[in-house]
Symmetry: C2
């Protein structure tokens, strides 16, 4: 069975910053789309573009051939999948359930087992690439699940990003995504410290960025977040609060494996300080606020605004 746009109903639950852009891509590709979001207002642009609204996740699942979920926290995932009127209870046998939230590997395994027992196909498929990656269909998608299920959903996922890799069985997509977050966390610390040093020493930080982008310090984090940090633009592509969630899951999992991750521990501690500054709803580039000398006396409007949310 192929999931061709003309004959496939796609359910999409969680139409926030990331999910909204991803759902829009699928809608534009010609899929029939049914959506649900905890905050209905955020689904409005999709409805205006032709998506159908359903009052709860179960109602979406009951009419869909494949349901994609892009939620906030593992507890949201557990609720949407396993709760009363949830996806597992409401989906018709044979339906594909793909959780693209960054969540716990053990939860992904549990969902897979429950789904399997009901004749459903579950996969975990978290993504990386930020809000711009979602908008421009340049996400990296890390999948865990059964190879046969992967082959069915792969063409649809490839519409959201060119690199869709099966990392292993159920939960493996989540583990791979945690690896991604582990590398990213320390990279973000490095970018902040480099720019803080540049600014403090009187260099023109934008010019230093130019040099760094062409050498061994080049990174997505540097090119994507560096200019925003310097501009004091902390608008969220990816929330501080969600990054903290990811780091917490990774550290918990590492602890279970007796694996020391001091860089990740440090990054989490620093991001916790950012959250305590009231910046949990800012983008991850707000880490720079910890080093931003110029905030000391007179915080820029963005900071104040985000702090008040």
């Amino acid at each position: 069975m192929g999931l061709e746009p003309e004959s496939t109903v796609v359910g999409f639950i969680g139409t926030g910053v990331m999910g909204g852009s991803m759902a829009e891509r699928l809608l534009r590709a010609g899929f029939r789309l049914l959506v649900h979001n905890r905050t209905p207002g955020r689904a409005q642009p999709l409805l205006a573009a032709g998506a159908g609204w359903r009052e709860d996740p179960g109602a979406v699942a009951a009419e869909s051939d494949i349901v994609l979920t892009m939620l906030g926290y593992p507890q949201d995932v557990a609720e949407v999948y396993a709760g009363t009127g949830g996806l597992l209870e409401s989906a018709r046998p044979g339906t594909y359930l793909v959780d693209m939230t960054t969540s716990k590997p053990s939860l992904a395994e549990r969902i897979w087992r429950d789904a399997h027992g009901r004749g459903l196909h579950a996969l975990d498929a978290p993504v990386s690439g930020g809000a711009s990656g979602a908008r421009e269909a340049r996400l990296s998608i890390m999948v865990g699940g059964e190879p046969a299920d992967f082959e069915v959903v792969r063409p649809l996922l490839e519409r959201l990003g060119p690199r869709v890799v099966l990392q292993g069985g159920p939960g493996a997509g989540q583990h791979a995504k945690l690896c991604n977050q582990i590398a990213l966390a320390s990279a973000m610390v490095g970018v902040c410290e480099a720019l803080a040093y540049a600014r403090r020493t009187g260099l023109e930080p934008a010019r230093v960025l130019q040099s760094m982008e062409a050498g061994a310090a080049a990174s997505w984090a540097l090119s994507h977040h560096g200019p925003r940090m310097l501009a004091g633009d902390f608008e969220a592509g990816f929330y501080v609060k969600h990054f903290l969630k990811d780091m917490g899951i990774a550290l918990e999992s590492a602890e279970e494996m007796e694996l020391d991750l001091p860089g990740l521990e440090l990054a989490r501690m620093l991001y916790q300080q950012v959250e305590e500054m009231g910046l949990g709803n800012a983008g991850t580039q707000a880490l720079f606020a910890l080093w931003d000398d110029e905030e000391d006396d007179d915080p820029p409007p963005e900071l104040v605004q985000l702090g008040r949310r």
Copy 2:
């Protein structure tokens, strides 16, 4: 005055892993090349390719229009420039002296002042991009000095890498390079921890790399060092001991400015552990040895070999 290959004698002091490749580029571009290296054997390939040997830095400088230096530590730079029979004493007025070593900004300023007083043109121009960047002329070159001097040497430097940026006055190239090393240090920690997590959790690390390279964790450090870490290939492009030197300079400078760089402090502590394992002469990717489970009982040949150097 332009530094055209056919009419310019280039002196090159320090023909190690980086300097050797850079000097070879200039030789192949048609410059007449005079070289000196503390360990003469390492200059042999250049001599075989047509470079001239001189017994000391001063003898190189006395016959050169421009002298490039690529040394190990600030004390080496101080000695080669300011020592008896050094570059400052021996160069003819009007000569360009370009230090491409990663060294102390304050030393670069001091050399510039001394050079200026003698009618010499000094610039600091450290590079980033590793051994492969040097071999393939893809270095990022960060320059500090006077704009007029920069314009004279720029075309020559552009033969070593496409991005040559004047970062400011004397010492600014060094400060920019320290920014680069600050970002890189934490990035390396993140790459190691991500791959260690991948391996420990039973994923195929090479496949995780594939996914990470396409998302927000993408970096030069990941793509360049990740595969080497996984292969246990710790051959030096850039030495652990030199990276430690750079981190030390950056931390000292940060301390003077009362700037906290906890990520850099952590990275230095971890790299110090690597050096204590006997891996100071390994490449910076040897940081992964701290997490490499498989080394515990049976170190691979590379590790043992490097440890014995």
